[in-house]
Amino acid sequence: MTSPVRMPAERGFFGSFGGRYVPEVLIPALEELENAFNDAVADKVFNGALNTVLADYSGRPTPLTTAMRFAGARTSFVLELKREDLNHTGAHKINNTLGQVMLAARMGKERIIAETGAGQHGVATATAAALFGLPCAVFMGVEDIARQALNVERMRLLGAEVIPVESGAGTLKDAVNEAMRDWVRNVADTFYVLGSAVGPHPYPVMVRHFQSVIGIEAKKQFLEKHGQLPDVVVACVGGGSNAAGIFYAFLDDPVRLAGIEAGGTGDGPGRHGSSLGLGSPGIFHGSLSYILQDDDGQIVTAHSISAGLDYPGVGPEHSSWMTSRRVEYFRVRDESALAATSAFTRDEGILPALETAHAIAWIGESAADLAGRKILLCLSGRGDKDMEILISRGAQV
């Protein structure tokens, strides 16, 4: 990872989105974090150690797999899969948690906290904390704890304390609230490992930086394999960390970028997770970005079949990419994602996460437009975690 970090403007603004909308007590902590992050990314020793951990512990570089059958792959178009599902713990999340926990250790922080929805980021944070010998507490909504018992036990096995969050609706957004409240109370010695490219500056740029390894590797691999850049890069977008990570390497290239949001069960309030497609600008979880809100500016609950996309906000850099039209954003509904999961698994022998399945479904639905193209998909995670949902929803398993 040697590419320069393109920093946002002052105070973390990407165009008119971003910033640092937090209680005053967190400002010194965010300034300390920003300085430590800038210092670390300019340090060869830190970068070398991070590269080593990514290689030896997480298994990077992850391969680029050529899809064989799905929706006309090989016959109608070329589809390359960036296999983030083959990372340790089964998703791209670990790229970010290893980076942030190493930064925490470097800053001398004594305690790690994180939020989690379905538990993927919680498991990835607990894993990194275990590797570096730091105590870890993960905030998780009571609803999510009930739905994701397996990941709760995994986190506990890894030595993390799972703290149930009863406030609000007991889901991911409430877990973020509670993690931030914990950080307010323990701001001197605690490091908050935020799981997506959201939140107050420097989190969006920091998470994107640690995830940018996806795009850097994929670009090189694609060029080696095809002697050219992809025509289209596709990724799913919840908070937007895997998408930011893969898009970032292609921003200045003549490459079409497509981000796929959760269309849920429809376009009505509370039925989807499409902050960009159906939301409006607002201030939530520390930054100004597109969010889901009502007429009074209250946050509206999101819905998606995939927990990782079930969030009423999106990273500010995505908002800037949408308004500048550098990235196109689309939405795919629950049913399409489910169907794509079954088809893709049968066609390719790879069970994708339901989050990723949204991007896969979009490729399937856009197959006619994509004829003759070379496509790069961020296969952000594996779908083992979704087996219960797949079974209960009667997917063809």
Binding site: Y21, V22, P23, E24, K173, V184, I283, H285, D296
Partner: protein
């Protein structure tokens, strides 16, 4: 004294406000609810949630202030989070609060760095945007906060949430002393102040003391016995705090 608009129910909020003012509160902070109140502990979270369930909006909270303005001369301050204000639009918000006779606005997640646009709108309307400082705020930043703020300086007593335990000997005292030495803004301290002892100790270093969770708690306890008990409990707390201050500082 802090009360949440629309809590415990519309109408009763106005009654509570008048009761605490009659009992001796000097300034009334009216909280407008937000779905995700990051800086609040469980009590004010609960009050905000109930308020939202009662259909309270920013618009209705401003209307409450307007109704109170007709009944009292006491300074009225609106307090809450940035998004409802941003969503209404800063110019519209400034118009509405000014028309309602609101004296100041506190936005918990709008630090100095991001408050410029709202500050400019309010300045034109002669409404203060009251700044906050925390025990970990640096001296240099405190300077800037005071320079850009108006009304009074709200010092958060600890690195914690509303309703956490007050620490009388904590670093906020040093901050308050520095701020008062600068002399340009009165200093009020809040967060965690719940009884006569706390108020007296806080008042040693501050021009004013802000109480929120304790009065919300008194209302919740009173509600178990009905509306009247809720109002009476809130007024009793204010009287208790005011008399503790009077005993300690007879001449102000």
């Amino acid at each position: 004294m802090f009360l949440t608009a629309g809590f415990p129910e519309p109408g009763l909020d106005e009654e509570l406000a008048m009761a605490v003012l009659d009992a001796g509160a000097d300034i009334l902070e009216i909280g407008f609810p937000f779905s995700d109140p990051l800086a609040d502990g469980p009590l004010i979270q609960r009050a905000s949630k109930l308020s939202l369930e009662n259909g309270t909006t920013l618009e209705k909270s401003i209307s409450l202030a307007a109704a109170l303005r007709k009944k009292t001369e006491a300074p009225l301050v609106l307090m809450g989070y940035a998004n409802p204000v941003y969503h209404m639009g800063y110019p519209v918000f400034a118009d509405r609060v000014s028309d309602a006779g609101v004296d100041g606005v506190i936005v918990a997640d709008l630090p100095m760095d991001e408050s410029g646009p709202l500050r400019d709108e309010l300045k034109g309307k002669d409404v203060s945007l009251i700044p906050m400082a925390a025990p970990n705020t640096s001296d240099a930043r405190l300077d800037e906060i005071i320079k850009t703020g108006s009304g009074f300086l709200y010092i958060v007593s600890m690195t914690g949430l509303t309703g956490d335990a007050f620490e009388a000997e904590a670093p906020w005292r040093k901050l308050a002393r520095i701020a008062r030495d600068k002399g340009s803004l009165p200093v009020c301290v809040g967060f965690g102040i719940r009884n006569g002892d706390d108020v007296v100790r806080a008042a040693r270093e501050a021009d004013g003391v802000i109480v929120g969770s304790a009065v919300i708690s008194a209302i919740f306890r009173g509600l178990e016995d009905g509306r009247e008990a809720a109002v009476e409990n809130a007024a009793d707390l204010v009287r208790e705090l005011a008399s503790a201050l009077e005993m300690e500082y007879p001449f102000v």
